[in-house]
Symmetry: C2
């Protein structure tokens, strides 16, 4: 545990997140649930079937399957589309979760070749898809592109990419790990966004703040096939209800909060951008998340942040990472906790940050 993390843990308020990831998250979700509710059983039973139907309908898709993780769900989605076309090549962003956070599962388990579409610092545009030199079975778009601060293409770009892929017999898959979080910016419903995609993955432990778990949605034939692969991956557990019932609880609690988080992110980013040597990416957030870049060396920024946490009792972030140009950055995700920080305390935090960064 780093010093920064420890100092962050000891603050009274935090600008980010929904609060600590602890057993209380589970206890709160299950408090109102009757003990005699039967477990799901290897993918069957009311608990899992009803939630799958609910989210399928919420996304405007025919069917949905609950998975323990997005890693599992997305590899399977791409595998199904590759098998359907008989071509084991897919395309995605160079900083896609599949490329950098999954130990190459897509290659090691599924033997799928991946084409990285663009330079890592920007999102995929229609030109990038049109200019692909190789045919692919499936294109994966991540909305928002998390590793570059949560940037988004325009909705018109999504429509153009969707139309192009449809014409070229390329399946379009949505990595919607933070889909709920971008709907307010697009001013679109989930079905309006999802209708552009053949398959969709959504997560329940990011903006929603559940314990873990994912939904993979699409046509019935696709989701039925995904169940077979779910069993192969070892994801068809006898009981997934600890994740499902908590996902449902926090989905209901927070699905209508995404507009609030988005506005809060815009406000908080503006505070950061007023500090010398600090900038956010995107400058104006398009979801509840953004990255904060400091032009200063990480070893200088850490003690400054720790001082502020100790002096104000407010935590800004629990971690910092170095960048290539001798600076450092952190990822900010707004949740329930931002609203709980008193306005004068917030002002004080940034007053101090401004002074100390000079």
């Amino acid at each position: 545990m780093t010093k920064l993390f420890q100092a962050f843990q000891q603050t009274n308020h935090q600008l980010v997140g929904h609060g600590p990831r602890n057993v209380d998250v589970l206890k709160q979700a299950f408090e109102g649930i009757n003990g005699d509710v039967p477990s799901d059983l290897y993918g069957n039973g009311r608990v899992i079937e009803e939630f799958q139907e609910k989210i399928a309908s919420y996304l405007g898709k025919e069917a949905a399957v609950f998975f323990p993780s997005g890693t599992m769900a997305q590899q399977i989605a791409l595998r199904i589309w590759c098998d359907k076309k008989g071509m084991k090549t897919v395309g995605y962003h160079p900083l896609s979760h599949l490329e950098i956070h999954e130990e190459d599962g897509i290659k090691e388990l599924h033997n799928i070749k991946t084409i990285l579409l663009v330079d890592k610092n920007r999102v995929i545009e229609i030109e990038d898809v049109v200019n692909l030199k190789e045919d692919i079975s499936c294109l994966l778009l991540e909305l928002p592109q998390r590793e570059i601060g949560g940037q988004l293409p325009s909705f018109e770009t999504l429509q153009a990419i969707s139309e192009y892929c449809h014409d070229k017999d390329i399946k379009l898959h949505l990595d919607g790990a933070r889909l709920w979080e971008v709907l307010p910016y697009y001013q679109r419903t989930a079905p309006e966004v999802c209708s552009l995609f053949d398959s969709v993955y959504v997560s329940f432990y990011k903006g929603i703040g559940g314990i873990a778990g994912a939904i993979l949605a699409g046509g019935k034939e696709f989701t039925e096939e995904s169940k077979v692969w779910k069993k192969r991956h070892g994801g068809d557990l006898i009981s997934l209800y600890p994740y499902i019932l908590s996902a449902d609880y926090y989905f209901e609690k927070r699905k209508d909060m995404m507009g609030q988080y988005y506005e809060d992110a815009i406000e908080l980013a503006s505070y950061f951008n007023k500090c010398e040597g600090v900038k956010t990416i995107p400058e104006i957030p398009v979801s509840n998340m953004f990255h904060v870049h400091f032009e200063m060396d990480i070893d200088k920024v850490i003690p400054i942040l720790i001082d502020i946490y100790e002096e104000t009792g407010i935590g800004i972030t629990s971690n910092l990472r170095k960048t290539d140009n001798n600076g450092c950055y952190t990822e900010i995700s707004i949740g329930d906790q931002y609203r709980e920080v008193p306005q004068d305390k917030l002002e004080a935090v940034f007053q101090k940050l401004k002074e100390k960064l000079v």
Copy 2:
């Protein structure tokens, strides 16, 4: 839901299992756990590390990794041993879980060829291993062999197979889904059994009665490699504590009950064997489980069982399956509920069964 299952659900007592798989299983486990206990985080943190160390030590292995499922853990174990030897062939029983319950994940995801060692109605003996015509990287033994009633080889056979495999550079993997349950019969400790194997999988929702989850144990190099594959499979969840903390709770509650379950199984099997046209496999159980075979057609046995459930309020089993020879069978697993059935009621059940089967 079948009529038999429904009738079973409505009984006051059941001869099998620990009770209904419902939300109460989770609630009971978490009742005594503080809400401020931090979640594990992608395989790290006290909650997961301490449990892994505890079970590793309980099994007498250097290290252990918690997995969401045995399906995932065992495919990974075999893959690691295949890669180590540079040969993608393994051997196991024709009714191994990997062969019949996993949609061929081992073949579809890992491209591993499987050799089925013996006729499906008996366990693997040393001769079967010696007479293998093809070299294999790993031999998987399931103790007990669940699909044939939970039969076991002798401990001397295990020792001989272990020695032979060691000499021939074949890794020996233990499918110990019901390992806890066979220790009383062998009159051996877990480390004594596990020392014969290079890697071991154990489960926490069978005799232990937890919610879900598995441990894979072995040498440190092996378990570290298994963590990489766990991520690839999509099993390295941000939070596994709902399974881990409940596994720990029920492990403590039931690990010393296995001798009792074993004795109860012997008693219950003897009741069945006194009925005309009924026999158990094994005749004398060697764990908490056995199969009951009826020589009568399934469509005749079901109404008989339902009658008994309704007349006595005691459930025997929730399901029956057809056999090849016009009979049917069911799997019995003894848990906490057997002891709760009053002796006179038990006698009454079998008195009625005897009468009705004539």
